[in-house]
Amino acid sequence: MSEQTMYDMEMRHMPDIGGHFGRFGGKYAAETLMGPLAELEAAFHASWEDESFQAERLRLLQQYVGRPTPLYHAEHLSRAIGGAQIILKREDLTHTGAHKINNTIGQGLLAQRMGKKRVIAETGAGQHGVATATVAAMFDMQCDVYMGREDMRRQAPNVFRMELLGARVIPVDCGSGTLKDALNEALRDWVASCETTFYIIGTVAGPHPYPLMVRQYHAVIGQEARAQFLEQFGRLPDVAMACVGGGSNAMGLLHPLRDDNIRLVAVEAAGYGLETGQHAASMLAGRPGILHGNLTYLLENSEGQINGTHSISAGLDYPGVGPELAAMYDAGRLELDSATDDQALQAFKRLAHTEGILPALESSHALAAAMRMASTMTPDQMILVNLSGRGDKDLDTVMKVFGKGEKA
């Protein structure tokens, strides 16, 4: 396929010129940022059509990130469940251990191209922070990462990793000390520093062009998976599933499958249970609102104040969702499911024991839903699950639940 056709294909589902996906998305940003956002948008589009930029991006994805990541048929798990076949897209095998690096490579290169000497990022699970610190180290840029105090506690190894990579991790105490508060702080930093600083947003949210840009950088997940599926199984999956925090791993997997006859399912974090109100299921339990630069589904009270969320997994503990997912959901192209903390933990354990893979707690949500669905399906059907990251960062959390000593 020529570069140009690829460009067309990938860009087909563009937002409108203002970054809207239907009624969602947009550019709800402070005036100070409107200039920098326009500059970013122009730079992104120019770079996307620049063959040498794309070649360098693809080279790094291959030689540095370790792409393509394999597609692994979890036969032992599937057999244990006794229903549909579960196929895993192994983003856990990427450098730094989660899909997040696909995006930071892209934005990192773009920051280089734009001559920025400093990058900032928000992070929840710490994977995006690590992935940002990683490219900052590689491209010799200064790096500050905002992270909620509570998230720093539950994802301590990732804090260490960022520091060892030379980044500064700035604790965020306001709010609930989780991802949304880190995003607020990062935006505050950027408003003041946008001349010299590139803000590497970690998911398909934020003001335009971020949702588009991050989707494009992650689309490699679904593009690879699609081709690998055809090659390994001679067909496409019946269902494709991914967990949703902001939605980057979901968009990465699902967007390239959008025109196929495949059920697309996004799995939200049900925390202690949807009925408890303590969860992070923005689409299932939220309503449209405006936060962090875009209009999308939000968890908020009747006054529009953003609710505190809860999920055992820091990467899903966010009250919003990427606007394109909201649009796909509204358009009926996306199904929703959810998994509670407990269900995610059980899925973690099940995958560990049957396949020898420790998934990230985020990804465990997708797995939990996939297992449930698989059990209602037949063995000739196939569910593709995005294993968005590995569970090494979650060891403390999981051991605390299962108890050291007790066999997990």
Partner: protein, 272 residues
């Protein structure tokens, strides 16, 4: 005198050869009752009041105004309290300019129409939503227009010529020039730069230009007042509340003193 109170405010100030004092407080901070008294104090000095609508995620604000939002929400402030406070001030100061300031989601959650209805009922003159740029402002503007409420626009140092044009074209009431790239409460930029920007804006638009973000000392206010139509003081006034937490009389006294000092520095020490 026109029906446009904001216009009247600026004209009155102009006639007094001084800049308007635009004072900000967050509604409901530290609680609705005290907030009412504080707003009255502010209204005793300011030409135009910016009444902040508290928001859980005030991402354009620095720590001082973030804390004000937190205190207010913590105290249970709801939007009907905000409108009620607005109305109280309006009743006490029929001639004052009042602008409701805040974040998009508060207005969106209520519905832009209902929001505009309530704002008008409460006696506000205009609305400034920090995270709704002109590009996204269509629906809100339509709702505001129905009540002849002004849609205030921000212009920032990073705004291109085209964006200034856009602001000039779509704004009403006044243009709010952000005197620094950063959040509220940070350090003000250089006065010379600000002057250049304001002069250029004056040449693009007939609207009054107010300058805000980071103005903390009477000296800064005086310097800006020399060329701007209005000077916005926010964090500096809000600090009076945090500095005297728990001691309402002291809080009120401090605010009164601070406002007076600002007003005095900006020329024409008399009451409005």
């Amino acid at each position: 005198m026109s029906l446009d109170r904001l216009k009247n405010c600026f004209e009155r100030c102009k006639s007094e050869q001084r800049a308007a004092l635009v004072g900000y407080l967050t509604a409901g901070d530290p609680n609705p009752a005290a907030s009412e008294k504080l707003l009255h104090v502010l209204a005793g000095h300011a030409d135009i009041l910016e009444i902040g609508m508290p928001f859980s995620d005030p991402m354009a604000d620095g720590p001082t105004i973030q804390a004000a939002s937190e205190r207010s929400l913590e105290a249970g402030t709801k939007m009907h309290d905000v409108f009620h406070l607005c109305m109280t001030v309006r009743k006490a100061r029929p001639e004052a300019g009042i602008v409701l300031m805040g974040y998009a989601n508060i207005a969106y959650a209520m519905g832009y129409r209902q929001f505009a209805d309530q704002a008008a009922l409460a006696g506000a003159d205009g609305v400034l939503i920090v995270d709704i740029p002109p590009e996204e402002s269509g629906d809100l503007d339509a709702a505001l227009l129905a009540h002849a409420l002004h849609s205030i626009r921000l212009v920032a140092p990073t705004s291109s010529a085209a964006r200034r044009e856009l602001a000039a074209k779509t704004a009403s009431g006044f243009i709010y020039y952000v005197s620094l790239t950063g959040i509220t409460g940070a350090e003000m930029g250089s006065v010379a730069d600000i002057r250049t920007q304001v002069e250029s804006l004056h040449s693009q638009s007939g609207l009054p230009i107010c300058v805000g973000f980071g103005i903390k000392t009477p000296e800064q206010a005086a310097a800006v007042a020399a060329f701007a139509d209005g000077v916005v003081i926010g964090s500096h006034f809000v600090s009076c509340i945090a500095d005297h937490a728990g001691d309402e009389p002291a809080m009120l006294a401090a605010l009164d003193k601070t406002c007076a000092a600002m007003r005095k520095a900006m020329g024409n020490g008399g009451s409005v």
